[in-house]
Amino acid sequence: MNRILSLYMPALLLFMLMIGCKKDNFEKPAALLSGRVVYDKEAVGLRSNGVQLELWQSGFELFSKIRVYVAQDGAYSASLFDGDYKLVRLRGNGPWVDNTDTIDVKVQGNTVVDVPVQPYFLVRNNTIEKSGTTEVKATFSIQRIADGRALESVSLFVGRTNIVDAVNNQGSAVVSAGNIPDLTAPVTITMNIPAGLAGQAAFYARVSVRTAGVAEQIYSQPVKIE
């Protein structure tokens, strides 16, 4: 008797565990909503995990937003269930003109939706390179897209990995708007390579534009400097 028990009990328990699990597990979301935050069909460069979009779905008891963070290259993605969602660009959150028009999104399988925004400024034609052995030099032009806000400053950030922004960096240089007499002319920023990067084979750099009164900045794509 004891032998039978000791033999069959573990098997029985295992079996119960297996069927027990099935019962109350939910399906995981299968659909993927992805896309980019774009201006003029071009993705805008942002701070890594700095900007969020919000997704809402009504008709369920729990009414709470789904935060969707945008990557630094402007891409976003969210695993969802099939259904109708409302995508909202949160006011004052991104470096662009507030636009609270809701975007209706029908998610069915893998869905791609680009989110159009209108930045105040964009970085154009940027080149970032070493100048001599101890300096980094960035040259770029600023394009005004929307009126209504003044330029606050432009910055150059350098960092060890290709995630470089105002928060993740090894060093930065800022030129405030007062020192940029002509917004249409190309702007140059130079900075010394910080000690932490001096010995590195390669590092990454980005330039950004800060609009007065807007927390987040618009960035160029990161450039690898060897």
Binding site: F63, S64, K65, L90, R91, G92, N93, R149, A150, E152, A166, V167, N168, N169, Q170, G171, S172, P194, A212, G213, V214, A215
Partner: protein, 628 residues
Amino acid sequence: MKRIYISCLMATGILLLTSCMKDWLDREPRTILTDEQVWNDTKQIVALLANFYDRIPSETGLGDVNDGADGRLFQWRNMANYDEAMWSGQSNEDGRNNITSYGFGSWYLWNYTYIRDINLALENIEKYGVSLTETAKRQYIAELRFLRALNYFDLVKRMGGVPLVTTQLIYDYSGNVTNLQTPRAKESEVYDFIAAEVDAIKDVLGNAGSTTRANKYTALALKSRAMLYAGSLAKYNSLMPAPITLPGGEVGIPASMANSYYQKALEASKEIINGGPYTLYKNNPDAGENFYEAVTKKANNKEVIFVKDYLLPTRKHWFSYDNIARGIREDNLGSSSIAPSLNLVESFEYKDGSNGALRTRNAANTDYIYYNNVADIFADKDARLYGTIIYPGSSFKSLSVSIQAGVMVWNAGRNAYDVVEGSDLGTTYTDGKLLTGTSGPHRSIQEVSNTGFYLRKYIDPNDKTSTRGVQSDVWWVWFRLGEIYLNAGEAAFELGLTGEALTYINALRERAGFGVNSLTTLSIERIQNERRVELAFEDHRLWDLKRWRLADKVWNGNVSNPDAMVYALYPYRVIRPGDAARDGKYVFVKMVAPRIRAPRFFQLGNYYTQINQGVLNNNPKIINNPFH
């Protein structure tokens, strides 16, 4: 005969039974107090008031309470979340050194349970308190209204304008709840409410001389602080490139209102300074010890206005156990949790009024500055540094606190120093002298300072108070005269009355060991720094930076910004035989504190805390704060 006897017995039995029946179901309950009993008994009313006093929320404190739902916030650990200090205690709280950004829900408070309790008390004392004397009744009502006004101040400084609910809300079962849904008041309206409440109750509040229950001057202290906040919010929000506002005024006070708020703050402050029974604490001739006692000592302290008091052996807290310097702890565990930052230490000026940055390198930045004693680098600093922080070379409870990170051994071959640090505390180097002090600092060991500094403010000076068995009864100061001087000074300065402002600021500086009239000119930056050093760890820094709209600039999340990172100062003993000018001397190294993983990052969306979705779902008239 026997039959008569029996029937008599039965008759009495019936009588007894029926008479009993009458109030059998109508007895006085023994475990429930009725409203009539509570509201006519002064002892019970005071007991209830004690509960309300105990629930005043605070971002930091000396206790270990964080129940956001009920609004009971009193968490000392939060002192490590800003730029005054970092976490050096148990490593399971190291998240405080790695706050990649403050969440938009940080500092959330929506304690309408507390407001309802007070509103209920106000209505019941009117309704049931028939046998109370009229004066007593008026006084209790005033006290309750003070607590409610104080709580609305705690709400408005976190959330912006909130619904002003001043009566009990009762559902009438009609299926319609719109009459119970109160929209958010304007931010300015909440501040106006606080001022009006204080004006209405200040002369009715009794409790003269009490520091634990509200009296006239406690209420005025609330008004002084609240009006200063409102004035600076009006001024500095409007100076932002894009002011933070909501169309209905729930957030954002027009700049035109700034002056009247500053005026009210100045008047309330002057009423306390000139009319109140308070004086700046000057009982100890040693300026540093004196400042420590001004906040911590209870006997003959005429400076404190309102405190949360504790009393051993039963009313006590763990703050000294958790924060005493490691080398002099009396328990075998705990200590060192809140380690003050070098950022704060450097904001204490030198007594000649020069910038407080510590001098570690010579003018040409080619070599260290060599100090004979480890405390010499702090010579001639503002005495409030001593009163707030235990730094290398200072002592506490007459015990010297041994703070040394290691030794620097001259390596002639390399023409540089080899840095040697102990793997444990209280270690000896091969030359038989000290390697690493019993109080560190150490880069990685938990429960030892990571910055090279320890807290003195609020640490109990009495024997055994840092043990788990005894604990501490140091009080928490809500309001003290020092702050009122600063409020008056700032309000006067903003109103253009610089001369008057200087008298207040200089009075505080004189107590801190500066000369008479040490300042002759004033700037807002000076006042800001003065508040930072005078009121360090008293739950002011976060709110001050918020109202000056500086928080997003100072704590901008950039690792290369020295204000956003928490810095440490590590002292080393120099071993360089043959060089008498350097051997045996002390040098100091400034660095980012090794346990700090991320800079402080305060975003524009942090100026007003996000309102929970559940609140918005329940009351569609409430709109969320900007950026959320």
